[in-house]
Symmetry: C3
Subunit: 425 residues, 3 copies
């Protein structure tokens, strides 16, 4: 590999890192837009802390749980705390021996920071689902354990070259329909089961919609997530390979577009109105759906996978409401249901399609799902019986912004009357 | 070309694609900020659908109408539906034969996705002008036809190597002052003529200003558009050529800055106040103005072109109001008027300046304008006499958010009173 | 250097330019979110004008004050007005002689536009601190002089190879903890001393908190600033060197994360609540703190530097309030205090740590601080006794949006009643 190619490869993974980073703004905006005004500061606060916690725990322990090196295999491995530039690497790079570290397309630091940006994502997915009623401290403890331990272990099974990668027909998950999105979705599911619904959501008289307080924020969030997904999927090529990355850009965008179209028609058929939140979640569903096989699909197949995800979204949202699992932002529909769909789609469409692959995809889906759900359920259950996970009824009523933060997200105070100005001096 | 250079070239066009993509968030925010609160969901919905429709129609038909290959010319050409990686190309790339596809700076997929991001832009320009009164379904049908047919045909005339490119002194439009912005602007003009003004805008007692509901959103939109313009103009170099791209960055930024300064002084002279919406549109005017010749101008010329665009903006806004053409966001002033200005500026400034070039620029401006306006007017007229293009007076009154979407963009609901919480269970 | 490496180097600095550009949206959002509703248009207007003024003055004079070429030294130098591609350079690049211009990693245009984006930043820092009471025109005059003259001179001392770079143990400031952030912070300090506090902030009955009007805007701002910091610090490597840039990404992100954690615990300890604005400023403090030594620190040291910055933030905010210096957005705490901290940290941590380095860092801090504070104080004082710098009490009361711009940032007007619609025709 020439220095020019190595530099370009590494540069692309760094740019992709920047793009995945801004997905955290996407999640923060989306979730803030979809909750009630009185819980806005709380959701923003959570999303700021999650990225901080995610980066530091991934530095402290996560990275070495997930990518312990080459001489491992199986279910679990660990190569020590912290992070250190491997000895001899700097010299190797300086001598143009760019393959010295793994596949050689990027440096040790690049790999860490790109993967660290992914790690925090799954905790963010949970934060939206448990919004408006979960105690802040309990959530932060859960997020720390989820990112530090749970995400790296299942990630190791495949991306760390563990047992899912060693199956006869290896489980395939290009950029994380299962390993990131469904993992986040399973955590969300455990959370909303243990928390229960928001007060007033499911009543004797039926399901009461609780609309989000700021749809422009939600729309900004979705555009930012799509924007970041160019790095999420495009960076998962793990090099700047021209054909590889450009195909992934095409499939990713066309699936998102298909998701919008699918959700547009389905939600109109179901609800007889043009529901913006469905189209927004349809776009996200399409993106989650293509993520497992973005490098395997033709453009036409990408549109179909995305469109099916878009069709799934309104049904999934209605389904979770029917079984009284309250998810204020639709995270389980988008990340869990479409994450599973995208994982299975690898067995149905594209260059790896086939029964053996489909069974492998099912194996991975079930195994990762069982482990993650059990972990998340266990941790949240322990938190429930110890520190408690749900705010009091009174706190929920006045909103988490005042209850947990003593702040309001918006101040209406207009011009100050003259007589009050005088009194202030 | 070495693999390193090819990889860097391709990488830059992909990064530019990401930047042009986020211009759709820019348009969505800008337009949402400039309309009334009651029409916010509608404009966000349109902008989500436009990017989806744009990508899929450009995949289905647009790309092959615009870039049908090398052996064509003249007024119209088409190379079939859909998209397929040309045979033999993968092998050519693998063998280092990077010139195999066209100029060789990027892959087939890269060209498609970069161009697809441009295509949706012109429909977005229209959406702002017709906001607050056009029926959603009529607009979506128009947008589909506009992106699928109209934009690719005039694009082909120049960028697909059609007749405008074959003039003795070829028409020049580096990144689309005419082919993207004026095209969108002509569509907008046709739309607002056929729709008529918003109720209450032009009264017996004069022109009633209808201020936008959220100026921070509008400002976010303009910053995002400028951000995306680095890719729009910079990517139009069609390689990562160091001198070429960096000069385009300089001219683009200085023209935007010139536009802000020009609009600052002009709007203060005209209105005796510091009008934020004028400065925001001045920045956009400067960007549109430099787009046709961003690679031909010196930094000083870029400032002049941008500043003139900034001076034009307030006059154009007043002009359209005087002739009672109601454009809620100023899209015709920014994209049509400054698009024409930028196209003509290629004949007046920079390395191609001269009478022959100026005449060629005029030819392109008039030809593209006639075709686009006729197409848009015809389609919208047909929609008007069939499905109707304007919402009812009652719907306009209550706002398109409730009328078309049964949703409101903002929910004011504060803390829920305790007694109501109790009743909900 | 091969063409591939040169192209990749240049490309990275251009991408970094785009990222630094969007920091201006970050500042605009952050400051808009932290001021009162009635001053929102004003702060957005300032931030639009600052980027325009910054680019044009840096083109006209700033760049040639700061980087006058190789044959200079000492305290001051200037190489003429305007900008021109040096003769012979185009030919040199074409011949593959990429080292022709300076270090050779990028073109002349690239260097200009990357540095120009930095220049406007320090004026932006001031705009937040003087918000809600400074006259628009006075601020714009100050910003012009600050960017055109003050920032380039102290920048020249180090980055233009002036006297601070020529110390026996050269002063070190990798990406501008002092040269950008503290410079902006000293300007802010001069401004708030000369302006005085907002009416009603410090009363006989104590300090009255004046909360920001829109915390989602503030959070968007912080995420955008972090996003841009990848370019601010990463681009300061001045090449795409794989190990160099990726290490800077790691230290930058971990310091930001450390800042969030530090501010989280400290503000809870001090105020017994989870204060979102402290965590947001903690992230920024961590970023400012790592900026001087982002290329020198290990990941662990980066976390420590960031965490200390995060601990500093709440104390600094309280300190400035105690001495009755009113800074609505906390710019002095973030940029001045953490800028000094980051500069000194180079002498305490990382590969340059040592007493001699620490003394050199102190020298630079004091020298730059004295010059900048004197310049800013002098200019603002002259403006105070000539055109005036503070709006009238009545204008402050009704808000700068109505007083200076005759506009409001938000329009509440909901659906128009039917009878009024009829009357409008």
């Amino acid at each position: 590999m020439s220095e020019g190619v190595f530099t370009a490869n590494n540069l692309w993974i760094l740019v992709a890192t920047v793009l995945v980073f801004i997905m955290h703004l996407g999640f923060a905006s989306l979730e803030a837009g979809f909750v009630r005004k009185k819980n806005t500061v709380n959701i923003l606060f959570k999303n700021c802390m999650i990225i901080a916690i995610g980066l530091i725990t991934y530095y402290a322990v996560g990275y070495n749980l997930m990518y312990p090196g080459t001489n491992v295999g199986g279910w679990f491995a660990f190569s020590g705390f912290g992070l250190a530039f491997p000895e001899g690497l700097a010299e190797a790079y300086a001598n143009g021996n760019f393959e010295a570290y793994g596949d050689g397309g990027y440096t040790y630091w690049t790999e860490f920071i790109f993967q660290a940006m992914f790690a925090a994502t799954c905790a963010t997915i949970v934060s939206g689902a448990v919004a408006e009623r979960m105690k802040l401290n309990a959530f932060l403890v859960f997020a720390t354990l989820f990112v530090a331990i749970c995400y790296p272990i299942t990630g190791f099974w495949k991306w760390g070259l563990g047992w899912l990668n060693a199956l006869e027909v290896p489980f395939y998950d290009f950029a994380g329909s299962t390993l990131v999105h469904a993992v986040g979705g399973w955590g969300a599911l455990a959370g909303i089961i243990l928390l229960g619904a928001r007060k007033g959501k499911y009543t004797k008289n039926g399901i009461k919609p609780i609309p989000g307080h700021n749809l422009p924020l939600a729309a900004i969030g979705v555009f930012m997530l799509w924007f970041g997904w160019f790095g999420f999927n495009g960076g998962s090529v793990l090099s700047a390979d021209a054909v590889g990355v450009s195909l992934v850009f095409v499939t990713t965008c066309l699936a998102a577009a298909g998701g919008a179209i699918g959700a547009f028609f389905t939600s109109y058929a179901l609800f007889k109105s043009h529901d913006l939140s469905m189209v927004l979640n349809g776009i996200l569903g399409g993106l989650v759906g293509i993520t497992a096989g973005a490098d395997l699909m033709s453009p036409g197949e990408a549109i179909i996978i995305g469109a099916i995800a878009g069709v799934i979204i309104p049904f999934a949202v209605v389904f979770f409401d029917r079984i009284r699992l309250d998810d204020p932002v639709g995270a389980t529909s988008v990340h869990l249901v479409c994450g599973i769909w995208g994982t299975l789609a690898v067995g149905l469409f594209g260059s790896k399609a086939g029964l053996a692959q489909l069974l492998s995809q099912l194996t991975g889906t079930v195994a990762v799902g069982l482990f993650t759900f059990a972990f998340a359920f266990g941790v949240i259950y322990l938190l429930k019986i110890t520190m408690g996970i749900r705010v009091t009824e009174e706190e929920e009523m006045k909103g988490l912004d005042m209850a947990e933060h003593d702040m309001e997200a918006y101040q209406e105070s207009e011009a100050t009357p003259v007589y009050r100005m005088a009194m202030m001096d």
